[in-house]
């Protein structure tokens, strides 16, 4: 598509009063808007080549950004609903507020940046792309993440994580920085990595209780490259101090076995 054409985005007449465009940024007022309307509007905009979209007054609308596979930047002001970015493949979603449960559910590619907390099930079954959360996350974050060849999803958690972090994890990278914890305080997370059989969790300091079937290891040179790359981006996104964050000892948690239940279900 030619660059010139991208300026003209046709939208359904019923959304016209909600949409404003300025400097090629499409602004949507989502107050009281039903989630299907909002998502079909986003789909229309992406199909017609919008590059930057800003949504205001979001309050609980679900599935924002779902099934979008364009390189578009979406800024969300307010509290997006459950399963934000589910199945999406490409967009960069920035949330100025907290994300609810299930953000990044089965996402394939793209990026979610949350300037606040994220709820339970963040990055559930994620298979590609990245999620950056500035503060704490809820339970079951990264449950059943997976990777394939060079397609490796990342979740970076600035604060603390909840129980069942990376449960049944099959691939990918989870980094827990624990910046919201006090000195010597650990995450109150039980059952970290239960059933994990692939992928890796990096913790900053000694903040996670290692679950059954996983082991704690020292980080190597390659691990540090991954951590440095992700922490650098975390610091850029949230204006945090790289030196302070890196001035700590990192550990990695990996599964003991690639088939933890093989003996349970077969000989």
């Amino acid at each position: 598509m030619l660059k010139e054409e991208k300026r003209f985005v046709e939208i359904d007449s019923k959304y016209v009063p909600r949409v404003k465009v300025k400097d090629r940024v499409w602004k949507i007022d989502a107050e009281g808007m039903y989630y299907k309307d909002l998502n079909s509007l986003l789909r229309d905009m992406c199909n017609k080549g919008a590059e930057k979209i800003l949504i205001r007054n979001v309050c609980g609308q679900r599935y924002i950004g779902t099934d979008l596979n364009a390189e578009v930047e979406i800024d969300i002001h307010g509290t997006p609903g459950n399963d934000m970015g589910a199945f999406m493949s490409g967009p960069l979603i920035t949330v100025h507020g907290n994300a609810q449960d299930g953000c990044g559910n089965t996402m394939n590619d793209g990026k979610i940046v949350v300037h606040g907390q994220a709820g339970d099930l963040t990055g559930h079954s994620m298979r590609g792309g990245q999620i950056f959360v500035r503060d704490d996350v809820g339970y079951r974050v990264g449950i059943h993440m997976k990777e394939y060849k060079r397609k490796i999803p990342d979740i970076v958690i600035g604060g603390a994580a909840g129980d069942f972090l990376a449960e049944y994890m099959a691939g990918g990278v989870v980094v827990v920085l624990g910046l919201t914890l006090g000195e010597c305080e650990r995450c109150k997370a039980r059952f970290v990595g239960t059933g994990m059989h692939g992928g890796v969790i990096y913790e900053r300091g000694d903040i996670l209780e290692v679950g059954k079937g996983t082991k704690l290891m020292k980080v190597g040179k390659r691990d540090m490259q991954v951590i440095e790359r992700l922490v650098k981006e975390y610091c850029e996104r949230f204006s945090a101090d790289y030196e302070i964050i890196m001035n700590a000892k990192f550990h990695k948690i990996v599964p003991v076995s690639k088939r933890p239940y093989s003996k349970l279900y077969s000989n």
Partner: protein, 374 residues
């Protein structure tokens, strides 16, 4: 209030893909406020329900009758009403009774709903406490005809529930006319029990109410245990046992909430094994004594009675519950967005940890006033 559901789902094509919604809002100074905010908040979580149940519990609504038990009774037949009226007249002094104010709304097959303000007859009480007497009579009415159900039986509080979305149930009962200092609201998604008027949440006995998101797979064993203590389960759904369990533990056995939460959502045995010996002994004793009141299965609940609102999730947090405070208000909700809708800025916001309660108490339990009066 009337068009909230049109606003929240103009397509009217609700699919089955989610759990119930719960919302609680309390003014800890005891100042009464209208249904506007709680109903607006629950309507924002419309997608979580499926229109087969909605209900509201509200505290502080009948100050002019605060010394009398307020019964809300649904009748599925006129005969049942006649029979129940006779039972009521022999057991209680009926101070005032009326058909509850309702209006046509998007609810399904509404029954006849009647309100009574009653006082137990002294001569009939004997050695029983008034609360125990009322509990017994409620059980009697609920089982006697099979067509009359007391869905609210506390003093100066009321439960309003039915089959429809919560915002429509509120519309049906004209809730804009009521003022309370504590509201809990529920939008229902019945999973494996019928969607009928009695089966909607909140469940109530005396002034105890429970709204619940989840499913209690331990219902059978909980029910048998409660039957031994005189509670009869008639609402055909799991959550009823929670209301009776809380009444038994907190009102009759006077256990503090800290212990009650350890009964309902007991720590896992593996955690108990790692405790200090003394603590271990206590937790083992609780699990052994009240094993039959352990609520197994996924749940998040808001329990309320006069002066207190308690939020709790199951021990491994299979259902969501978040809380926030703003000034004198405490909010609890299945989703953060519902809280933000009525209070965009919060002093504090957090997600509950599994098995750890949040308790909101009135600062001065004996003083409740109306926000309008101030």
């Amino acid at each position: 209030m009337r068009n909230l559901s049109m606003l929240t789902n103009p397509y009217n094509d609700d699919k089955d893909f989610d759990g119930c919604s719960i919302f609680g809002m309390m003014n800890v100074e005891g100042k009464r406020f209208s249904s506007r905010d709680p109903i607006k908040a629950i309507a924002n979580m419309h997608e979580r329900g499926n229109g087969l149940g909605g209900g509201i519990a509200v505290y502080g609504i009948y100050p002019q009758f605060e010394n009398y038990y307020a019964f809300h009774i649904m009748y599925l037949s006129r005969d049942a009403k006649e029979k129940t009226d006779r039972t009521l007249a022999t057991s209680f002094n009926i101070i005032y009774d009326e058909e509850m104010q309702t209006r046509p709304a998007k609810v399904i097959d509404p029954p006849m709903v009647w309100r009574y303000f009653v006082q137990p007859r002294k001569r009939r009480l004997g050695k029983m406490t008034a609360d125990d007497y009322v509990t017994e009579k409620v059980m009697q009415i609920n089982t006697e005809t099979g067509k009359a159900f007391v869905f609210s039986s506390g003093k100066n509080m009321g439960v309003f529930k039915g089959v429809g979305y919560p915002e429509d149930v509120a519309d049906f009962f004209c809730l804009e006319d009521y003022w309370g200092y504590l509201w809990t609201v529920h939008g229902r998604f019945p999973t494996n029990t019928p969607g009928w008027w009695g089966g909607a949440h909140p469940f109530n006995i005396l002034d105890w109410t429970v709204v619940h998101n989840g499913e209690l797979s331990s219902y059978g064993i909980n029910r048998r245990f409660l039957e031994m203590h005189g509670y009869k389960c008639t609402m055909q759904t799991d959550t009823e046992v929670l209301a009776y369990a809380v009444d038994l533990l907190m009102r009759r056995q006077k256990l503090p909430i800290e212990i009650v939460t350890k009964v309902l959502a007991a720590p896992l045995w593996s955690e108990i094994d790692n405790m200090e010996p003394k603590q271990q002994q206590a937790y083992r004793a609780i699990r052994q004594t009240y094993g039959s009141l352990l609520m197994n299965g996924p749940f998040s609940i808001i329990v309320a009675h006069h002066g207190e609102m308690i939020g709790l999730t199951d021990r491994i947090k299979l259902r969501p519950l978040v809380a926030g405070t703003k000034g004198d208000f405490l909010y609890m909700s299945s989703e953060e967005s519902a809280i933000r809708l009525v209070s965009p800025t919060l002093d504090k916001f957090w997600a509950l940890r599994g098995g750890e309660p949040v308790v909101g108490k009135l600062r001065n339990p004996h003083k409740t006033t109306s926000l309008e009066e101030n």
